[in-house]
C-alpha cells in the first residue's frame, strides 16, 4: 500500500468525527486530530477501532498514545502492517 492510498483511507475514517471542516480540507502530515480537526478526544478511541477494522491490525496502548497526528498515525499503521 502506498503512502497516498493509506492517507486517503485514513481521511475517510477520520471524516465523520471532524468538527473543523476548514482544517480538514487542508489536511497534512502535521495535522493534529484534537487541536486542528477538533475531534472530541473520546472519539479518538473510535478512530483507532475503525483503523483496526480497515487495515486488519491490532494497535496496542503504546501505538494508540502515539496516534495524535496524521503522520504519527501513518507511521504506526505502517509498522503494524509490516509486522503482520
Amino acid at each position: 500500500m502506498t503512502q497516498e492510498e493509506l492517507l486517503s483511507k485514513l481521511k475517510t475514517i477520520v471524516e465523520p468525527y471532524v468538527q473543523n471542516q476548514e482544517e480538514f480540507q487542508k489536511l497534512s502530515g502535521d495535522t493534529d486530530f484534537i487541536n486542528d480537526l477538533d475531534i472530541n478526544s473520546a472519539n479518538l478511541v473510535d478512530v483507532i477501532l475503525d483503523v483496526e477494522d480497515e487495515f486488519g491490525i491490532e494497535i496496542d496502548n503504546d501505538g494508540m498514545e502515539k496516534m495524535l497526528t496524521v503522520s504519527a498515525s501513518i507511521d504506526v499503521i505502517l509498522e503494524k502492517l509490516a509486522a503482520k
Binding site: Y17, D46, L49
Partner: protein, 423 residues
C-alpha cells in the same frame, strides 16, 4: 403565592403513534399499538406480544448527527431524544448554537429505569470475550442512566439542572413533578421533563418470569391489555417516551408561547412497604394520601376533578386502585369522575408510562375528550360495585374538561399524582 407553572410543549413516541398528532388520533379512535413480536416467541417467552414504537431508521437522521448514530444501539435513547426534541420544538424553542452560551434558566429532568440494555448486552459479550478494548467510546454514554438527559441537554444547550430520575413505573410522573417543584422554587424557568423506556426481551424478560404478563393472547394481541376488565390477565409490556416542556407562566407569557395546560400541583410519596405495601404492591393508605395531598397542594376540591387517568395496568390490582380512588376522593357510583387507562391501547410502558400518559391527559384537556378504555366491556365485579358503568367509557367521549388527574404507582411502593388544569 407560588409561581404558576404551565405546559408549553408536548412530544411522544408511543406504540400507537410516534408523534403527537398520530398519537392523538390513535387515542380518539381507540387504535391499539400492541403487536405480536416474533423474537419473543423464538426466545420462548410466555407473553409474545408487546407495545413497541415503529418507525423507519432513516427517521433518526432528523434528530441525531452521524457521529451520534454510529454504534447507536439504545432504543430508549432514540425514543427519548425524538420525544424530547419534538416537545422542545412544539414549545417554539430552538437549539443553542455551538458558539453561544447555554440557556442558564433551562434544564432537563428525563427519567428512565435502565438505558441502552441492548448496548450493554453488546458490551458484556465483548468483555467476556477478553475484548474490552473494542468497546469504543459509545458504551458508557448509551448505558449510563443519565445518558438520556445528557444527550438532550447537550443537543439543546441547557445550562440548568440536567438529570435523570428513576422510580420504576412512577418515573415519568415524578419527573414532571420534579420539574414543577424546581420552577415553583425559582431555580429554573423552563424544564424539559419526561421519561423513556427501552424495548425488547432484556427489559421484558424479568416480568415474563414473574408471571404477571398475559400469555393467552399471542394470537389476538390487541385484546390482551384489559384494564378494569373481569378478564384482566396481566399487563402487556410496552416501551416508548413522553416529553413535556414545563415552564413558569411568566416565561411562557413573555415568549408568547402556546399554553397546553396548567399544572396546579401534585404529590410524590411511598408506602414504605408497610401495611400491605411491598416491593411489588402498593400500600393503599399511601396511595390515598398521595392523591389527597396532591389535591390539597393544587388548591382544589375532590369534586372539581372531571377525569382520572389511572395507573390501571390490567393486573389483579386494578380493583384495589379503583377502591383507593373512591375513598381518596369520597366519590363513587355516578358521582365518580370519568376514568380511563391508556395501557389498554399501548400496554405498560414502565418508566415511560407516566410521561406518555401525562401527554395523553393534557391532550384530553386541551381537545375536550376522554379516550375510551378498550377491552373492558365487562367490568371486574368489584369495580362495577364501586363505580357506575358510564364513568368508564369504552369509546371516546367528547365533552369539555377542566381538571384531569394523573397518577402512577411503581415497584418499591412509590406513588406520584399530578393535577392538570385547562388553561
Amino acid at each position: 403565592m407560588s409561581r404558576r407553572v404551565v405546559v408549553t410543549g408536548l412530544g411522544v413516541v408511543s406504540p400507537n403513534g410516534t408523534n403527537v398528532s398520530e398519537f392523538k388520533n390513535a387515542l380518539q379512535n381507540g387504535v391499539s399499538g400492541i403487536e405480536y413480536i416474533d423474537n419473543l416467541k423464538k426466545l420462548n417467552f410466555s407473553c409474545q406480544i408487546a407495545g413497541k414504537p415503529n418507525y423507519n431508521k432513516d427517521y433518526l437522521n432528523n434528530y441525531f448527527n452521524n457521529i451520534q448514530l454510529r454504534g447507536l444501539n439504545a432504543s430508549g435513547l432514540e425514543y427519548g431524544v425524538i420525544a424530547g426534541l419534538d416537545a422542545w420544538k412544539d414549545a417554539g424553542l430552538s437549539l443553542v448554537s455551538k458558539e453561544e452560551e447555554p440557556l442558564w434558566e433551562a434544564g432537563v429532568i428525563f427519567g428512565t429505569g435502565i438505558l441502552g440494555v441492548d448496548k450493554f448486552r453488546e458490551a458484556i459479550y465483548k468483555v467476556d470475550n477478553n475484548n474490552v478494548r473494542r468497546l469504543g467510546s459509545t458504551t458508557v454514554i448509551q448505558t449510563m442512566a443519565s445518558g438520556i438527559s445528557a444527550f438532550l441537554g447537550g443537543m439543546i444547550g441547557c445550562g440548568n439542572i440536567t438529570t435523570t430520575n428513576s422510580s420504576a413505573c412512577s418515573t415519568g410522573t415524578e419527573a414532571i413533578l420534579m420539574a414543577y417543584d424546581h420552577i415553583t422554587s425559582g431555580k429554573s424557568e423552563i424544564i424539559l421533563a419526561g421519561s423513556t423506556s427501552d424495548s425488547g426481551p432484556y427489559i421484558w424478560g424479568g416480568f415474563d418470569a414473574m408471571r404477571i404478563l398475559p400469555h393467552k393472547y399471542n394470537d389476538n394481541p390487541t385484546e390482551a391489555s384489559r384494564p378494569m376488565s373481569a378478564t384482566a390477565a396481566g399487563f402487556v409490556p410496552g416501551s416508548g417516551a413522553g416529553a413535556l416542556v414545563i415552564e413558569s407562566l411568566e416565561s411562557a407569557k413573555k415568549r408568547g408561547a402556546t399554553i397546553h395546560a396548567e399544572i396546579l400541583g401534585g404529590q410524590v410519596n411511598s408506602g414504605g412497604q408497610r401495611n400491605g405495601g411491598s416491593m411489588t404492591a402498593p400500600n393503599s393508605m399511601a396511595v390515598q394520601k398521595c392523591i389527597q395531598q396532591a389535591i390539597v397542594q393544587a388548591g382544589i376540591h375532590a369534586d372539581d376533578i372531571d377525569a382520572i387517568n389511572g395507573h390501571l395496568t390490567a393486573t389483579t390490582k386494578d380493583p384495589e386502585e379503583i377502591k383507593n380512588w373512591t375513598q381518596a376522593l369520597n366519590r363513587s357510583g355516578k358521582e365518580f369522575p370519568y376514568i380511563n387507562s391508556l395501557k389498554s391501547l399501548i400496554g405498560h410502558c414502565l418508566a415511560a408510562s407516566g410521561s406518555i400518559e401525562s401527554v395523553a391527559s393534557i391532550l384530553q384537556l386541551k381537545e375536550n375528550f376522554i379516550f375510551g378504555t378498550i377491552n373492558c366491556e365487562i367490568l371486574h365485579p368489584e369495580i362495577s360495585s364501586l363505580v357506575d358503568r358510564s364513568r368508564i367509557p369504552t369509546k371516546t367521549v367528547y365533552k369539555p374538561l377542566n381538571i384531569v388527574v394523573k397518577a402512577s404507582f411503581g415497584f418499591g411502593d412509590v406513588n406520584a399524582c399530578i393535577i392538570f388544569k385547562k388553561y
